[in-house]
């Protein structure tokens, strides 16, 4: 597979640690310490994961970690929404049932930090007995470090998988209308409207319309207008010209070019609509790509283009989301838990994640490894879209505690806009509703 001197496999880890262990026995002091993976052999770890292709990859290869370390892992994977609720409730009791937690940065980062629920692992990262030399802070994409470090710059988790939002487009429908992939948001709107033909049940654009799920669509558009929802001064920015323009864009696309009923669509409905081959463009996360190239599930195999979001009036930006693995502050097995996190984001595991199209590792050394790239099952264009988005990556959701309320309140406004309500009025109402919530959360 993907072996290099800097990124040893389990076998070479074992060999190295055995050699160093041997050297220690004869009294020689190793020049550079190596990770003693067996140090916590016999420990049992409880790991709480979000059920997704990413955690599926982890659980699939779990026996490898267990034989590498001798640590027994009880991994529990629950669907995203339920997992988020369960972990928060358990963590707030002070006695969670798990040592490692899988968290969605874009929703939970601030909440976890304020709760003080994650252990400081910056010391572990610097400890050569615990951390493989190939794992350094500098290897993570910038967004990953932004996510993983708290306001004081302390590392609280290891960035696991990044999700950029890209445009999936149906090349066949584009060709039929003599169109090429848009280079700007204006062109995107024009293309979407040209492709739309309700009599043929063909629509130019689809994205999430369902309350809460739809908010990142709008905030990602906003990034293209050069603004984010909360300004650098911490003030809410959702009544700015850019926010209103982005909302109008959302409204126009989802009313004029989207299939009927889109206001109830989450990513799954949008995806299944796109897979039917009747949708020009679909805007959502890179991680939803695998079914597209599966002939069992898709009518657009080999006909799909994958591209970075076109540039808006304020520049080009790819909305970025991500998840990480953290060691729980209340855990009594922090080092062992850290070893698990480290294994989960290791070169080999990251390569597997990427190659299966299940997720995109935050570690740049994996993305740039030619051998890893060779093994990627998704088309080259997908990988290019991932790499291209990485260059214009911007956090799409505000780093605040009440992210869910933010998404719900503005999500309702956006759903109302699909129903024909005025964009500016809706944003005004939503902001009036959200401001006190934000004030309460930080107050």
């Amino acid at each position: 597979m993907t072996t290099s001197i800097l990124k040893p496999t389990r076998r070479s880890f074992l060999a190295a640690s055995a050699a160093i262990g041997g050297a220690a026995l004869i009294g020689g002091r190793p020049a550079a310490a190596a990770v003693d993976w067996k140090r916590f052999s016999g420990t049992t770890l409880n790991v709480n994961l979000v059920k997704s292709p990413r955690s599926d990859t982890l659980t699939k290869y779990l026996p490898e970690f267990e034989s590498l370390t001798g640590i027994k892992v009880n991994a529990e994977a629950t669907p995203e929404q339920q997992q988020r609720q369960k972990t928060v409730i358990e963590l707030s009791t002070g006695k969670p049932s798990f040592d490692v937690v899988h968290l969605s940065y874009h929703v939970q980062k601030r909440q976890f930090e304020k709760g003080g629920w994650l252990a400081d692992i910056s010391g572990f990262l610097k400890d050569p007995n615990l951390t493989d030399p190939s794992l350094t802070e500098g290897d993570f994409a910038e967004a990953g470090l932004l996510f993983a470090k708290d306001a004081k710059g302390t590392l609280r988790s290891l960035p696991f998988s990044v999700d950029y939002w890209i445009v999936y487009w149906n090349k066949e429908l584009f060709e039929k209308k003599g169109l090429s992939y848009p280079t700007s948001l204006d062109e995107l709107v024009a293309a979407a409207e040209k492709i739309t033909d309700p009599s043929a049940n063909t629509y130019g654009f689809v994205a999430r319309g369902l309350k809460n799920a739809n908010t990142p669509v709008w905030t990602s558009f906003m990034l293209g207008y050069g603004a984010s929802t909360i300004g650098p001064d911490g003030k809410i920015n959702t009544l700015s010209k850019e926010a209103i323009e982005a909302a109008k864009l959302y409204q126009r696309l989802l009313t004029k070019s989207a299939p009927p009923g889109v206001s109830g669509f989450n990513w799954a409905e949008a995806q299944s609509a796109f897979l039917q081959g009747k949708i020009g463009m679909w805007f959502d996360g890179v991680g939803f790509a695998p079914p597209i190239e599966d002939p069992q599930k898709s009518r657009v195999v080999g006909k799909t283009g994958y591209s970075v979001m076109p540039k808006g009036p304020g520049g080009q930006a790819a909305g970025t989301f991500g998840d990480g693995l953290g060691v729980v502050e209340a855990s009594t097995k922090k080092e062992a838990a850290y070893l698990f996190c480290q294994w989960a984001i290791s070169h080999d595991m990251g390569a597997r994640l990427l190659q299966a199209g299940a997720g995109v590792p935050f570690r740049q050394s994996i993305l740039t490894d030619a051998k890893v790239r060779e093994g990627v099952k998704m088309p080259g264009a997908w990988l290019d879209a991932v790499a291209g988005s990485g260059k214009v990556s911007k956090l799409a959701l505000p780093v605040i505690i009440p992210v869910t309320e933010f998404r719900d309140i503005y999500g309702v406004a956006l759903t109302n806009m699909i129903g024909g309500a005025d964009a500016e009025t809706e944003l005004k109402n939503a902001t009036a509703q959200f401001e006190p919530v934000l004030a309460r959360s930080e107050g």
Partner: protein, 311 residues
């Protein structure tokens, strides 16, 4: 309920002229186990909810006492009032429609015809299925592009509907599912009622020359009224606390168009982690349910009474 069982023997004892102060301690050992269980699983959670409702407490943050501020906020919360309205319409429709169709079905299945038992068995099947599984199947059927319902409508020349994906049609669509699932329950209850009806009044009515409608209106309906009342009470309780079907199908959407109090309460407490505010909502919702229960019990008592009188 507990107080009733404690009070009754006492009043009886008083009626007989015994001293309650002597008798009461003798009763305590028998009352204690039930009292402990009730205190632990009903009274304590209740008091705790009440206590939390006067606090500002978001998970992961410190708790502070704020008095009635949560209630004041609730009264000014448009989303709460909207959810109250959604609960009302959803409950009303989910009681009336199954009641109508259930009674109709009971009348049909009360008649004798071949394969009756088998068909009754088929008819009650929706009731046995898991609500979430049903919800997922119906969600697929409601899909505007891929769903079978719009496909069927296209045969009769009706254009595509948006069903649960439209603010206006979402509650009626959800009620369709609820009605489909719970009509059999009403049917079973009413069927039991019909089976218990004596034949004699019908015979004398026939002698008096009553037609089918008159027999139904003046004999069947009054005699099954107590059963209908039971169906109304069971359906009302079920519909007002309905959560699974709505949550699995729309999560309260589009927007908040199908957000009932239960869903809003759940979101507040477990998605926004605003336990204090969620508790205040729970308290208010509980009071509404208590009030409704009193009304229903009152009506039921009246139905029983008029039933007795008619006999």
């Amino acid at each position: 309920m507990a107080s009733v069982s404690i009070d009754n023997p006492m009043t009886e004892a008083q009626d007989k002229g015994s001293k309650p102060s002597v008798l009461a301690p003798n009763y305590w050992p028998f009352v204690m186990p039930a009292l402990l269980v009730v205190s632990a699983v009903i009274v304590f959670p209740w008091l705790f909810t009440l206590w939390m409702s006067v606090n500002s407490w978001t998970l992961g943050q410190p708790r502070t006492f704020i008095g009635l501020a949560n209630y004041v906020r609730l009264m000014q919360d448009m989303r709460f009032w909207e959810s109250l309205w959604h609960t009302t319409t959803y409950t009303a429709l989910s009681v009336v429609l199954p009641l109508f169709f259930g009674t109709l079905a009971a009348l049909v299945f009360d008649a004798k015809f071949p394969l009756r038992g088998f068909l009754r068995g088929i008819f009650v099947m929706p009731m046995m299925a898991t609500p979430v599984a049903i919800a997922l199947v119906w969600t697929m059927m409601f899909h505007p592009q891929l769903g079978v319902l719009n496909y069927l409508l296209s045969f009769v020349g009706i254009g595509a509907q948006e069903w649960i994906y439209n603010r206006v049609t979402v509650i009626p669509s959800l009620v369709v599912v609820e009605t489909w699932q719970w009509t059999p329950l009403v049917m079973l209850i009413v069927l039991g009622g019909l089976a218990a009806i004596p034949r004699e009044p019908y015979e004398s009515a026939e002698i008096d020359g009553a037609n089918a409608w008159q027999k139904f209106r003046y004999l069947t309906v009054p005699m099954i009224a107590p059963f209908l009342m039971i169906a109304v009470i069971i359906r009302s309780i079920d519909a007002i606390k309905s959560f699974d079907i709505i949550y699995a199908m729309t999560q309260g959407g589009p927007g908040t168009a199908s957000e009932t109090i239960n869903i809003y309460l759940y979101n507040t407490a477990f998605a926004y982690y605003d336990i204090g505010y969620g508790s205040a909502m729970a308290v208010v919702f509980f009071m509404i349910i208590i009030a409704l229960s009193f009304v229903l019990l009152l009506v039921r008592a009246r139905a029983n009474w008029s039933d007795m009188e008619s006999r």
